[in-house]
């Protein structure tokens, strides 16, 4: 068993985590203003934006991957623009994966953040405005510290969901070792060439890690709920 573990190639795992880490950081930054706006607005365009944000949950990954592929390829205006002015190719490389993952995992970041912001007592935010503080400072010092469970859920689930993606990655990235061959794609290929031993080890590792990640989220949220309940209980 130990020998097998030593011979195994861990590059796809590392790639998966690098991709998930980058995607999480990018989404955290970009989703924050969107989630805040969605939580505070009563604009008529809110349902439209919410529906668009939630699309990646219901769309087959192949559909999402197809559109991203079309949009980013060098035949499209966006792809052509980036290639011409920055010399960057946006598909079948790591950059393409990051962009595709950011679309794919968007709802997993936006939705917990939005419900976290919505759970904050509006009077608390208004008390901060009345104290002379702007929106940015209010979000940073009042809203975010009071929604830690939502924050942790958003970050961890986005990370885990990106590690677990398969269809979009395959469509946009293909399977270039060290560049776009992430763990899920590697498992798919192992099964195709009937290397069940490696597939078992990879799949087992994925299963254990995913479980531990979710378990830690639930333990954290459970503890936090007790802490925030005060002593009236």
């Amino acid at each position: 068993m130990l020998e097998m573990l030593q011979t195994i190639e861990f590059a796809p795992f590392l790639l998966s985590f690098k991709l998930a880490g980058l995607t999480t950081i990018i989404l955290f930054t970009l989703s924050m203003p969107l989630a805040w706006w969605l939580s505070q607005t009563s604009s008529r365009s809110k349902p439209v934006l919410e529906a668009i944000t939630a699309l990646p949950i219901v769309l087959p990954p192949s559909v999402l991957g197809f559109y991203i592929l079309i949009a980013l390829s060098q035949n499209s205006p966006i792809g052509a623009f980036f290639y011409e002015y920055f010399g960057i190719k946006l598909v079948f490389n790591f950059t393409g994966l990051v962009i595709a993952s950011s679309f794919y995992s968007l709802p997993f970041m936006v939705q917990p953040l939005q419900s976290g912001f919505e759970s904050i007592n509006k009077n608390m935010l208004e008390a901060s405005y009345i104290s002379g503080k702007g929106k940015f400072e209010t979000i940073l010092k009042v809203a975010l510290p009071n929604m830690k469970p939502a924050l942790i859920t958003a970050i961890i689930v986005t990370f885990a969901h990106t590690v677990g993606e398969f269809g979009v990655v395959l469509m946009v990235g293909g399977s270039i070792p060290g560049e776009t061959k992430v763990a899920s794609v590697a498992i798919y290929e192992m099964v195709e060439i009937m290397d069940y031993d490696s597939a078992h080890i990879y799949s087992g590792l994925m299963l254990i890690m995913s479980f531990l990640v979710l378990l830690s989220v639930y333990i954290f949220n459970h503890k936090n709920n007790n802490k925030f309940a005060g002593f009236h209980r």
Binding site: N123, E126, A127, S128, Y129, I130, G132, G230, F231
Partner: protein
Amino acid sequence: MIKININKKLQGSQADMELSINLSIKEGEFLALSGKSGSGKTTLLRIIAGLEDANGELDVGEESWLNSTMKLSPQKRAIGFVFQDYALFDNMSVLDNLLYVKKDKELAEHLLGITELSELKNRLPNTLSGGQKQRVSLCRAMMRRPKLLLMDEPLSALDPQMRTKLQNEILTLHREFNTTTIMVSHDPSEIYRLASRVVVLENGKITNDGKPKDVLLRTSGSQKFSFRGELLDIKKVDVIFIAIIAIGQQLVEVVVSEHEAQNLKIGDAIDVSTKAFTPIVSAV
């Protein structure tokens, strides 16, 4: 001098109504806003704070906070606001709640001293009782040394003893800082103790404005006693009728004539008054 002249269309629970307020408040005045729920008191408070939009003008001293061309944001208005549900920052200690508003440790310690909270300054809000939380909220509202202190039913969630204690502290703070104050309240005894003027709102309009004594005391003419109550029941006993009336937290029985009994419905709001007699007052 604070001049308020504002209009706003409101969607009430029954029908749309227009909030239309024209009011001048002297510096240092303690004004109580009273009236049924849904009469626009809280909305008026929120408009003054800049938390809601309205048409019209709002001038505080030399500054204009609202006119036809501009609306000053809540951040730029020198106000303190005490919410009914305290709205403390749960992630900060008592002291940090105050320092968040202004990094003035001396003032913070002084305020906590007045309200007897010094020993609790490192506690988180969730470990405090309702009365303690509201005192923190009051201190926090004073940290900006506001020109105008707004309180939205600050004591309504507290028990009677805690109310009395907080009323004293509100009075102490008002005497020390002489902050012009507007407080929404339903409680006549609270208004009487704290306010120098009371304004009654009904359906978005001012229907009464004067000294608490004149507005709140219900006696008129030669009446010596008058209470507002709710008719709970009318019973016929032999040849007389007895009305059971709830006045505040007390139930009383009053004999009524057959004619009176026929004109009353259970659930009616009624005035109970009496003329010539000398009440006996004794300590409980």
